[in-house]
Symmetry: C2
């Protein structure tokens, strides 16, 4: 279609010629009309007429790269990432990274007899939420974004992110923030050691006072002990479980205690309070969000920690924060972070800010992240229970329902982990028994809970959960058909 040749024709006499010309012109009108108002529909914004007055310039190339990578088809069983491996001699684009138990260039091939990997607490159950909120959650980094050591006001922490985290806690009602200092860290991992340092006796390197004793109640999150043992400073040492020290009258003579409390607990998901009176407690509330737990009231301990990993699912961002009542403790924790890493990545702070904004703008609406996460996790727990309830061999922790002040109703259980107990006498090593049944779990030995328990992670991808449920079903079915001892042992 060349519009030009119609125009080059001069009108002839009235009559047929004129009529043909009119028809042609009207047809052309119709075509232009259709092209302009119909083909372009729905009216996507044109580069060049956006509200800012100028079209996209420097951000265009990066936006195209990101969308091109995101558009690669991985059959719903994998993802492509901008920093994925680029193979030699290919098109220079990274390939699909397949979910566990899937393979092939487009992740369409299911691996036969695949072992379910439920060892970690990788929070990928929220990935679909962020895919649904792609436009709102995307962030563009200019090459010159926050090159400086200092952020707004000269500190290491984004002031806007601080504000939004406080807003989030107020809106969710899971922590009292008004009388707390806020300290950011590279994940709650870095934070837990910073807090141990901050609560240890000051200036101990030169004094001769005994080191603080760091303790937790079994079953506890093993990373606490691992970290304290590795970073064994002169101010603190790992001192075992609270059971050793509870009601122990010699406690006061052995120096200060620092008690790790995880609530909901990792691995057994129970809500917990400090056990040792009169000691400092670091209360890890990483899982105290409505997708995992009911929220009876705002937590208000002196030292609390939270993480992006279990809030939004961004474990790879390594972002955690502490709420600390005492100014001196907060200053010491911040000093630790500064000396350890000069603060966390500023890229992460901007990205988390964007994610928290999306979460805040959807609270209590149809796209509430907690409602979404709760639905996924409740459904998984329900399906797992339906299978395990037929078993005499393995059992799961009992979780009482509770009224959630955020959801404004009694909440069904939706835990991050199944805390599996092996009930049969001969299954002394529960993790080993599950492994033989094709399920990788984390043995309760590392939690000082003994080998009869093992932790099974429920918060990975739907693919991971499906494979897990298959393996558990096989295990329970084998037991029913009397094949347990031969096939699973």
């Amino acid at each position: 279609m060349e519009p030009g040749r119609y125009k080059s024709k001069s009108p002839g006499s009235a009559g047929l010629g004129l009529f043909v010309l009119l028809c042609s012109s009207l047809l052309l009108n119709a075509l232009f009309f259709a092209h302009h108002f119909v083909w372009a529909s729905p009216p996507v914004p044109r580069l060049g007429d956006d509200a800012a007055g100028g079209g996209l310039s420097w951000a265009l190339q990066a936006a195209r790269e990101a969308e091109a990578v995101a558009a690669v088809d991985c059959s719903g069983h994998g993802s492509v990432f901008l920093d994925g491996i680029v193979g030699d001699g290919e098109d220079g684009r990274p390939g699909c990274e397949c979910n566990h138990c899937f393979a092939g260039p487009d992740c369409s091939v299911r691996t036969p007899n695949c072992t379910a990997d439920a060892e970690s607490g990788n929070p990928l159950f929220l990935e679909p939420y962020w895919m649904r909120h792609a436009a709102a959650s995307a962030v563009v980094f200019s090459g010159w974004h926050r090159m400086s050591y200092a952020t707004t006001g000269g500190g290491l922490q984004s002031v806007e992110l601080e504000r939004h985290i406080r807003r989030l806690h107020r809106a969710v009602g899971n922590a009292a923030v008004d009388d707390k200092h806020l300290v950011f860290a590279t994940g709650s991992t870095q934070l837990s050691n910073a807090l141990v340092y901050a609560l240890s006796p000051e200036g101990n390197a030169v004094s001769s006072s005994p080191p603080a004793s760091v303790v937790a109640t079994a079953p506890y999150y093993a990373a606490y002990k691992m970290q304290v043992d590795m970073f064994d400073a002169r101010e603190y040492r790992w001192a075992g479980t609270t059971a050793t020290w509870d009601k122990n009258t010699s406690r006061n003579s052995t120096g200060d205690f620092i008690e790790f409390v995880t609530s909901p607990n990792n691995p057994d998901t129970a809500l917990r309070k400090p056990v040792l009176g009169g000691s400092s407690a670091i209360v890890d509330h990483a899982y105290y969000w409505p997708h995992f737990s009911h929220i009876p009231e705002p937590a208000d301990e002196d030292v609390m920690l939270f993480s992006a990993s279990k809030l939004s699912g961004h474990a790879g961002s390594r972002f955690g924060w502490a709420l600390i009542r005492d100014e001196n403790v907060a200053t010491r924790a911040a000093q630790y972070i500064k000396t350890s890493t000069l603060g966390g990545s500023r890229e992460t702070q901007l990205r988390i800010l964007k994610l928290v904004k999306v979460i805040l703008s959807n609270l209590h609406g149809a796209e509430d992240i907690f409602a979404f996460g709760y639905d996924v996790m409740r459904s998984r727990w329900h399906r797992l229970n339906a299978v395990v309830s037929r078993s005499t061999r393995i059992s799961l922790q009992k979780i009482p329902p509770g009224y959630c002040t955020y959801l404004k109703r009694i909440k069904e259980p939706s835990p991050a982990y199944a805390w599996v107990k092996c009930e049969w006498e001969e299954d002394r090593d529960c993790s080993e028994m599950l492994l033989e049944a094709g399920i990788i779990s984390r043995s309760g030995v590392s939690n000082e809970a003994g080998s009869r328990y093992t932790r099974v992670g429920l918060l990975k991808t739907e693919d991971d959960f499906d494979v897990l449920l298959e393996r558990v079903t096989d295990l329970v079915n084998a037991e029913k058909h009397g094949q347990a001892r031969s096939s699973a042992m």
Copy 2:
């Protein structure tokens, strides 16, 4: 203009009516034609017909936000950032963050009698480079980018970034990488403690062997001592300067030594080698890039560290890496990073990958970052020297020229810091004297070099350097006019 009403008209008889209709239709065609082919020119890419086959969708909003923020005018004396503070009752957009000595909503007001802040090593001299490479260096993060703890292959480090860092070292020729392991960290700050840990005697917590002695040659980077003192583990302790131990025959009986070597040195910018024979050395090559130093040969020590801060200027990203020959040392360093923070932010890894790609693609070209950085820093050093050479009161370190294998010529000095010595008897506290002259510097006391020396940072913004040069010029002029003792003391 409503195209619809032309179409609703049915043609009447031949003659005037038909002719009017035809003219209208032709006019309409012409308008459509002009709109389609002329108004839209120059042909900006339309959403919907880019090369990838699909138009921008989810990345558009974020791209617009980033460009709108970047377009705010801060008079060339400040920047706006996406996570800058949003004031109450404003348009919801963050405002300008002004360079030191500038103020006002658009940073156009020069602060009178402003003190030059040359205390830090904030590498903002490279900010203009990234503004010039805006399109190539921008990165778009989807909301679901790398949520997992694990990256490609299950580790914590981007495989593509590892490859590109190795490529960069090979291309620049500043480090031998082929027989080295690569360990990422949250800045070289985290790395330096990880390496002290990795080189300390293993399993010392249970054994009774003496802790490793950590030492450095004065003047040294004070953060090493600060960190070792704060994280005073049972495996290592700060043991002062190498001068105490060099040729000290009792050295072997006091346990292992770990020597920090910084080359080029911070603060005095001299190239250095380890001093204590037979001990482990951590060689900090953060400044061993052609913008600061000539590169006589690829560094090839057993344990070396580098950082994005002094390569690309991205101090806020907190990204450093170590090159380690021995596998066991690398494994222990990686274990430290894992236990401390579960690896660094994955956002940072993607962004640094993009930046390294831009650097690589411009090496030896007109837009070489090292040529750019060298020009800036050489010019600053030249201007500062021209002023200080007129002074009897202060002097700067002498830097011998050297052949740079990367630039393929003799390189003039372009150091990151001026190591200022106060020559007059009465100026015992050089940092204090400079402060009275309106210059904030970092006293040599922290480097165990004594108060007669002080470090002046040269790598901040051009605004910072301009103010610094003004203050130094005032100081030297006052001295020339015989006012020094009264005005500057």
